[in-house]
Subunit: 350 residues, 2 copies
DNA sequence: CTGTTAGCGCTTTCAA
DNA sequence: TTGAAAGCGCTAACAG
């Protein structure tokens, strides 16, 4: 490199409010005032302080402020991990809203943590409240204990006494998409996904069952596989081998649905002619595959935003009634369910 | 109406090290010792303290500890946003590594922030060091200023005097993938993407040019479009209208490549027969489309991990030489480049 | 092994 | 409009 750095940059102690005050020739109280944008400061003082702070490269220490004001100005968020668009969208919604509220966000990923309860407690140590995904595998007692000491909102989890809850609608959308498939004349539908894995999936299966009930037929047991692509591929193979029989698959999420679909078609089965496939989430790939995947779109971003909102309300004490908030979802009909594909010219558009 | 003191909050002040000490009948020093896992405590004291802490639902205040020990035990990370797998992977790598190092991660998304420099400075206030994506649109002077006061690592950005840098290899992979396409007998290649947008893309274009030079032909100017799906679609239309001519497209990322490909095929052009398309990143969709997208896989996760590592080294003062670290990438050949597709049975496998 | 005691850097009365 | 001073909760000498 051209800039032969002669001296490695050191990161020494750094300026404090005291050094700034000294340099500006005022008291630390005045420095604090101008830095907090207090009105009661003379223009002269303000200017001096700002200059001094600038010259000293003053970077305040949030910890000291937090200690003094007795809150962190930060929201914690616990997610299982970040693959797929679901968690990312959630996180984006959360972060944007938190930022609007002037709160930092401290993120923790649950997967792979050796001692999850410990990790969560540590997180709790540095935030004013925390949100977590219902599926983060955090023991119930940990959640409850936390809920006792600071605001906690559970995302897509079950209602609990000490915490708030926000989730997206599942049961009736599941009922709707199932009814749609039944409406195509399919009769041997399978629900693919493990209802015990999360409240979301449990509710989706409930909707699946309800739609069958309305049609006067009894729904099959859920085919309990987890949500990874590999599971979808394996499931497709079971169908191909004849271990399983179905003319339509209602999958718990899109990744599963896509994997199944690709494997099925790769092996000569037609989708949707031989077997229809629908998913959940509306990931990007859902509109790239052939045929386009019929699915349910969740307002995941808004879910995240609501979580941050709720947290803030709790923290600042706006005593809303504790309870569950549900955000609506909606069907995205493409052609994997048996509907005719749209004209070619617009096929690639969402 | 109640007076100002009447908070409706169910989350009152909470226990402190003092209340725990009192309850346990020991000094705060002893409490601190057992909580820090210090060896020099009698079993009896330890037990008492732990009990007291438990009974009181004691949650330590990280801010107080930070103030006392003079560091935050947190790494900051600035990302533009979180759509697509790239940033998520990066973040996962970063978080996992940070956790291993005992550091929390404070995340900030740059996109949509009104006053970005201010936001970043605020972030700097609560972390011991921070990593940011080169493409986060943070003004150079802000980065440099920050680099002067605490460790900063730039991810996929240009080398700077005051900060460390980590990026994945671009130029020679771009050269390689371009040479591969040229090897298929294509001669009118177009590079799609804006080299001015990020050092990554600039370097990829450089590799594109270099490959042409090696083949004794002169590379075309880059077709400067941004990286969204919509831009890919628009680009495809330009090709279809004949505004642009090419028998192969080297796209700056997969999303662009996929959008182009889908549009082209939707309008009757054959890929790769009429025009080959290759991308960069190896996103999930890349192996779901037909034909499978030839692309370059980046070790994005490791990039994130290295960033956290570097940060930690700097923070703890292990004075490594400042400079740029480069992580290798590799080609993923599928069939959008003109290579024959694999046998059907394994088509869906990565 | 335990307790006492200074701070860490900032905010915030309270007086002036 | 300003400054002095008292904490915020925790850690880490330093004695005992």
């Amino acid at each position: 490199m051209a800039t032969g750095s002669g001296h490695p940059t050191r990161h020494p102690a750094g300026a404090t409010i005291y050094s700034v005050a000294e340099r500006a020739g005022v008291s630390i109280a005045s420095v604090s005032r101008v830095l907090q944008g207090s009105q009661a400061v003379s223009e002269k003082t303000r200017k001096r302080v700002l200059e001094a702070a600038d010259e000293l490269h003053y970077v305040p220490l949030a910890a000291a402020r937090s200690l003094a004001v007795r809150h962190h100005e930060a929201h914690g968020l616990v997610l299982p991990e970040l693959s797929g668009p679901y968690y990312s969208e959630l996180l984006m919604g959360f972060e944007y809203r938190a930022a609007e509220l002037g709160q930092s966000v401290v993120l923790m990923l649950a997967e792979g943590k050796a001692d999850l309860p410990r990790a969560v407690r540590k997180l709790a140590t540095r935030v004013d409240g925390l949100a977590m995904l219902g599926s983060s595998a955090i023991p119930d007692e940990t959640v409850s204990a936390l809920g006792g000491s600071k605001p906690v909102v559970l995302i897509a989890g079950d209602e609990k006494a000490t915490v708030d809850t926000v989730s997206s609608e599942n049961t009736s959308s599941a009922r709707e998409i199932t009814a749609h498939v039944l409406g195509h004349g399919r009769t041997r539908l399978l629900f693919v996904g493990d209802p015990t894995v999360s409240p979301d999936i449990r509710d989706r299966y409930a909707g699946f069952v309800a739609a069958h009930a309305s049609a006067g037929i009894v729904a099959a047991e859920a085919v309990t596989v987890s949500l990874r692509e590999a599971d979808g591929t394996a499931l497709a193979d079971r169908l191909l081998r004849g271990d399983l029989e179905a003319d339509a698959l209602v999958c718990a999420n899109d990744e599963l649905a896509l994997a199944v679909m690709v494997r099925l078609r790769g092996s000569g089965l037609r989708v949707p002619e031989d077997v229809a496939v629908v998913g959940w989430d509306d990931v990007m790939t859902a509109r790239y595959v052939e045929p386009g995947l019929t699915t349910v779109r969740q307002p995941v971003r808004e879910l995240g935003a609501r979580a941050s909102d709720l947290l803030h309300e709790r923290i600042t004490g706006s005593a809303a009634p504790r309870g569950a908030q549900v955000i609506p979802t909606h069907l995205v009909i493409r052609s994997s369910c048996g509907c005719p594909p749209p004209p070619v010219a617009v096929r690639a558009l969402p």
